[in-house]
């Protein structure tokens, strides 16, 4: 300020038209001195040092005349102004210092007041808290579950009702109260279900019958916002009233009592706070500071912290609850998240309760509990529960709970599906009696109950059950145990069910197979033996014992070599070597029976495997005694037959020569008689000789046919491919060539079919049929013969049809017999051998022959013989042959 005044004076002189000269400069110097006196030495020096030379230069250079008066006036004014400035500066500084001192004093006083008040109230609170904690040790503290049953009671509560805590667990408040109070308890229970914290009075009934007045304070327990039971503090009212009497002297004491009561409900890890509206102050207990990771010595608590300590997403909720508490008086109880001073998030339960005086809210008390651990535990429980539930619902094992009475309490989804149902409820609805409706054998349920009552559990209890919806039978295996109540009575069965149908079916099928195999082995006529790796019999069937003339015990454990005679031991060894190479073997050997007699057997065997490893042998024994006998008998018969055949052959050979030679003589000499002595014979004589000759010819033909017929039996057949078209064509052409008289109309409709048979035999048969056809149509006005062939499946069928005289079908079999004729020889000559030969030839070739006819309507004769497999040429166009 001094400097400003000094400078102002200097500038005033500098630009004033009448100012100037050295006095101007002097006034500047004075002003600077004044500033110097005012305490601003540096500024004064700077001002004088700079302004003086400038001023001096201006006035000497411009040459303006100096005025002494002016200089004096200016000096006076400058000094005056400097002095005034100096004085004013000193005065303002004093005023300001005095004001600062006043402010400081007031602030110090305020802090002192606050500190004193806080210390006082803290001391008071801590004293009350300590006393009531002690009191609370005598209070009943009860935890109740969501089913409103006792889960925990402390000794104090137990003492109040005169029972041991374990007698109380699981019971309800109704069991220990004055029946007159039941309505009130009912109301309380309803409020608990709604999750409301409340307090009421009732009378407890002691075991010995007397009643105890009690104050019940209920605080709901919450898990994830859902009510999960409650915490109940039960206070003996007589003591309570005594305390109340003491505290009633002071209004605040009562209020604090309520606050402490609330606080005692929580465990020791509870912080407390109080928001005094009248003073606009917030107080925290020691635990509160700890919860916020701060020290009471360095951290200042402000009213805003009633809301600001919470995580932003919870602030609205808390703020609303606090406002509601102030406006309606409703206490609040919230689970929220706070953010500590260090920035950590903590789950807390915060409870607030307002206090009103004359309808005006004055204080908000609260407790503050760290429930982070609890939350974590809850989360773990929830997760474990979810895992358990997932297991329960998805495990491929049936799980159930049922009662001894047969009611089903719980059934998991797998078991529900196993029984064919869609939902648990559907099954419980449908199956009323497990024993009758589930087990196929109704006795099974009784056996199950008997076992579980005897042992407390059953394991691998296998039963056949009925799938309710389809009636299908399934096999299951059960494991179950009994759940007993405190008295040891079974209240429930808890068990698991596995579907073993597949395994059981395999087992049953195996059992069937095993039984079948055993039956077969026991029943078979052949001996069956099984040896182990060491070559000892481990199994022999009854037939084996019969063959060996031993009991089974005498066989088992012994070696085949004990039974095979020494001479056959090499055969046995060779066989074992071959079996080891994987070849099945078969050899004949002689065995010594139990009584020393010998028996010839055929031994057929192969390597045996167990679990893929070669293990001994399995062999069958066939008793050859009977077979040998049969073979010998057969051989004897064969040789007899062979000798008979030889005899027969010699016989027919002789017949062919010895019967024909005389015939030739008869014919020859008849002829010679005619030639040499014809002139001496009359007509009658010559006719007789002709008759002799034709009889001879007939006899010759008969012998020839007979020989051909017998030769068919004796001759070995040569099976060759035969082209039917070629064969039939040749025979028909030959016969047409030989025919005398009317030539019949012959049609050959035979494709190139390849049959399989004896060429000569077939030719003979066809020739006979064609001859017959010629013979029996000879008398017809227009004889017609057709030869056809066709393939029918695996056989070739050849037919010869004529329009001749035909025959009555009743003689069908007769005409195929030997020496059988239907006509007089003078009408139709023949030996009666032709068709018999046809049939025999066809049967010898594996074919057949038959005929169809009607008297006077012609006849068709059929031959059938096998086709040549796979080599039959494709049918070629038919060629008509006349």
């Amino acid at each position: 300020m001094v400097v400003v005044v000094g400078l102002y004076a200097g500038f005033f002189w500098l630009f004033h038209p009448i100012a100037g000269g050295t006095l101007g400069s002097l006034s500047m110097l004075v002003a600077a001195l004044v500033a110097l006196l005012g305490g601003r030495r540096l500024w004064a020096l700077l001002g004088g040092a700079i302004l003086f030379p400038i001023n001096y230069w201006l006035y000497t250079a411009t040459g303006i005349p100096e005025s002494l008066v002016n200089h004096l006036a200016a000096s006076i004014v400058g000094v005056g102004l400097g002095l005034v400035t100096l004085a004013a500066a000193g005065w303002f500084r004093t005023i300001r210092r005095q004001r600062q001192e006043l402010i400081d004093e007031r602030s110090r006083l305020d802090a002192e007041i606050i500190r004193r008040e806080f210390v006082e109230s803290s001391l008071q609170a801590e004293r009350d808290f300590a006393r009531l904690v002690i009191d609370s040790l005598g209070q009943g503290l009860v935890l109740m579950n969501s089913q409103l049953r006792f889960e925990y009671v402390n000794p104090a509560y137990a003492a109040l009702v005169g029972r041991r805590p374990e007698e109380i667990i699981g019971k309800t408040p109704f069991d220990f109260s004055d029946p007159a109070d039941h309505a009130r308890i009912k109301e309380s229970l309803d409020r608990r279900v709604r999750g409301e914290a409340h307090t009421y009075e009732m009378r407890l009934q002691h075991q010995d019958g007397h009643f105890v007045d009690a104050l019940i304070t209920v605080t709901p327990r919450r898990i994830e916002g859902d009510v999960a039971g409650s915490i109940v503090v039960v206070t003996d009212v007589s003591r309570q009233k005594q305390i109340e009497a003491e505290l009633r002297q002071s209004q605040t004491a009562i209020e604090r009592q309520a606050r402490i009561l609330e606080q005692t409900q929580a465990a020791a890890r509870v912080g407390g706070w109080e928001f005094d509206l009248r003073r606009g102050k917030m107080y925290w207990t020691h635990e509160m500071y700890q919860l916020h990771d701060v020290s009471p010595d360095t951290f200042e608590v402000t009213p805003e912290m009633a809301v600001s300590i919470y995580a932003p997403e919870y602030q609205d909720q808390v703020s609303a609850a606090v406002s509601r508490a102030f406006t309606t008086g409703e206490p609040y109880d919230l689970e929220t998240v706070v953010i500590t001073h260090g920035g950590k998030r903590r789950w807390v339960r915060t409870v607030g309760r307002p206090v009103f005086e004359d309808g005006i809210p004055t204080v908000l008390y609260g407790s503050f509990q760290d429930i982070t651990e609890q939350k974590r535990a809850e989360e773990q429980i929830r997760r474990a529960e979810a895992e358990y539930r997932s297991l329960y619902e998805n495990v491929p094992i049936g799980l159930y709970r049922s009662t001894p009475g047969g009611d089903q309490a719980r059934i998991n989804p797998y078991l529900v599906r196993l029984n064919g149902f869609k939902t648990e409820a559907e099954q419980i609805q449908a199956i009323k009696d497990i024993g009758q409706e589930w087990y196929v054998d109704p006795e099974r349920r009784a056996q199950f109950i008997a076992a579980i009552e005897r042992d407390g559990e059953v394991n691998n209890f296998e039963s056949e059950i009925r799938r309710y919806t389809t009636g299908e039978h399934l096999w299951i295996s059960e494991n179950a145990r009994a759940i007993r109540d405190a008295e040891g009575n079974i209240v429930q069965y808890e068990g698991s069910v596995i579907d073993i149908t597949t395994r059981k079916r395999v087992e049953l099928a195996l059992e069937d197979q095993r039984r079948f195999a055993t039956n077969v082995m026991d029943a078979m006529g052949q001996g069956l033996t099984v040896t182990d790796k060491a070559g000892r019999f481990v199994y022999a069937n009854p037939a084996c014992a019969r063959i060996l003339g031993c009991t089974l015990d005498q066989i088992l454990g012994r070696s085949p070599l004990d039974f095979i005679v020494d001479a056959d031991h090499p055969k046995f060894r060779h066989s074992m070597e071959a079996r080891a190479r994987g070849e099945p073997t078969s050899y004949e050997a002689t065995l010594r029976r139990g009584d020393g007699s010998l028996v010839a057997v055929l031994i057929t065997g192969a390597q045996r495997f167990e679990g893929g490893q070669p293990t001994g042998s399995i062999a069958t024994l066939t008793d050859l005694t009977e077979r040998r006998k049969h073979e010998e008998a057969l051989q004897a018969l064969n040789s007899e037959l062979a000798s008979k055949n030889r005899e027969m052959e010699t016989f027919t050979y002789s017949v062919s020569h010895d019967l024909k030679a005389p015939l030739r003589g008869i014919d020859g000499y008849s002829r010679l008689l005619l030639e040499d002595y014809g002139d001496r014979l009359d007509g009658e004589g010559k006719r007789f000789l002709q008759t002799i000759r034709s009889a001879t010819e007939q006899m010759n033909q008969l012998i020839t046919d007979l020989l051909a017929y017998s030769r068919l039996d004796r001759r070995a057949l040569a099976e060759t491919p035969i082209d039917l078209r070629e064969l039939v064509g040749a025979i028909v052409a030959q016969r047409l060539h030989d025919v005398r008289g009317i030539e019949p109309d012959v049609r050959v409709d035979v494709p190139h079919l390849m049959a399989r048979g004896d060429r000569d035999g077939l030719a003979q048969a066809v020739r006979n049929l064609v001859d017959n056809a010629f013979k029996f149509t000879r008398a017809m006005p227009a004889p017609a013969i057709t030869v056809r062939a066709e393939r029918i499946g695996d056989v070739a069928r050849l037919s010869v049809t004529d329009n001749g005289i035909g025959f009555d079908m009743q003689y069908h079999e007769k005409i195929f017999g030997i020496f059988t004729r239907l006509h007089r020889p003078e009408d139709y000559p023949g030996t009666g051998v032709g068709l018999a030969l046809v049939r025999k030839a066809m049967e010898r070739m594996g074919g057949r022959a038959w005929a169809e006819s009607e008297l006077g309507q012609g006849a068709t004769f059929f031959l059938e013989l096998p086709m040549l497999t796979d080599t039959a040429p494709a049918e070629t166009p038919r060629i008509e042959t006349q």
Binding site: Y653, S656, H657, A661, P662, R664, G665, D667, G668, R671
Partner: protein, 141 residues
Amino acid sequence: MNDVTRPIFLVEDNPMDLELTRRAFAKHRLGNPLVVARDGVEAVAMLPRWEAGEPLPLVVLLDLKLPRLDGLEVLRQLKASPVAGNIPVVVLTTSDEDRDIRTAYELGANSYIVKPVDFDKFMEVASQIELYWVALNQPAR
């Protein structure tokens, strides 16, 4: 061509057949003499005589069913003989058994003829034999 000094050797036990055969050849007026053996033993008895220089026959007509020694055995010995081995042998028999026919040819028979019962046919056969074996089928000189 036909050396009329050389005989036809007929082995035949049946007198009727012998007579008929003789008649058949006579009918054709063949000049060759007919030497006859009435059984197998007689037939093979000719072999040493031929070896001794008796004229060899132009052809042998051999029946199979012969007393004492079977016709097939006779055939075998004839064909084994160094002097008679080349003489044509015509089997003339009643048997038409395949077995006989086959065996005869195997043993070297030059022809096998079944005797017809019918005399006319028999005569025809005889003349055929004559014509072929006696008149035509002779080695050139």
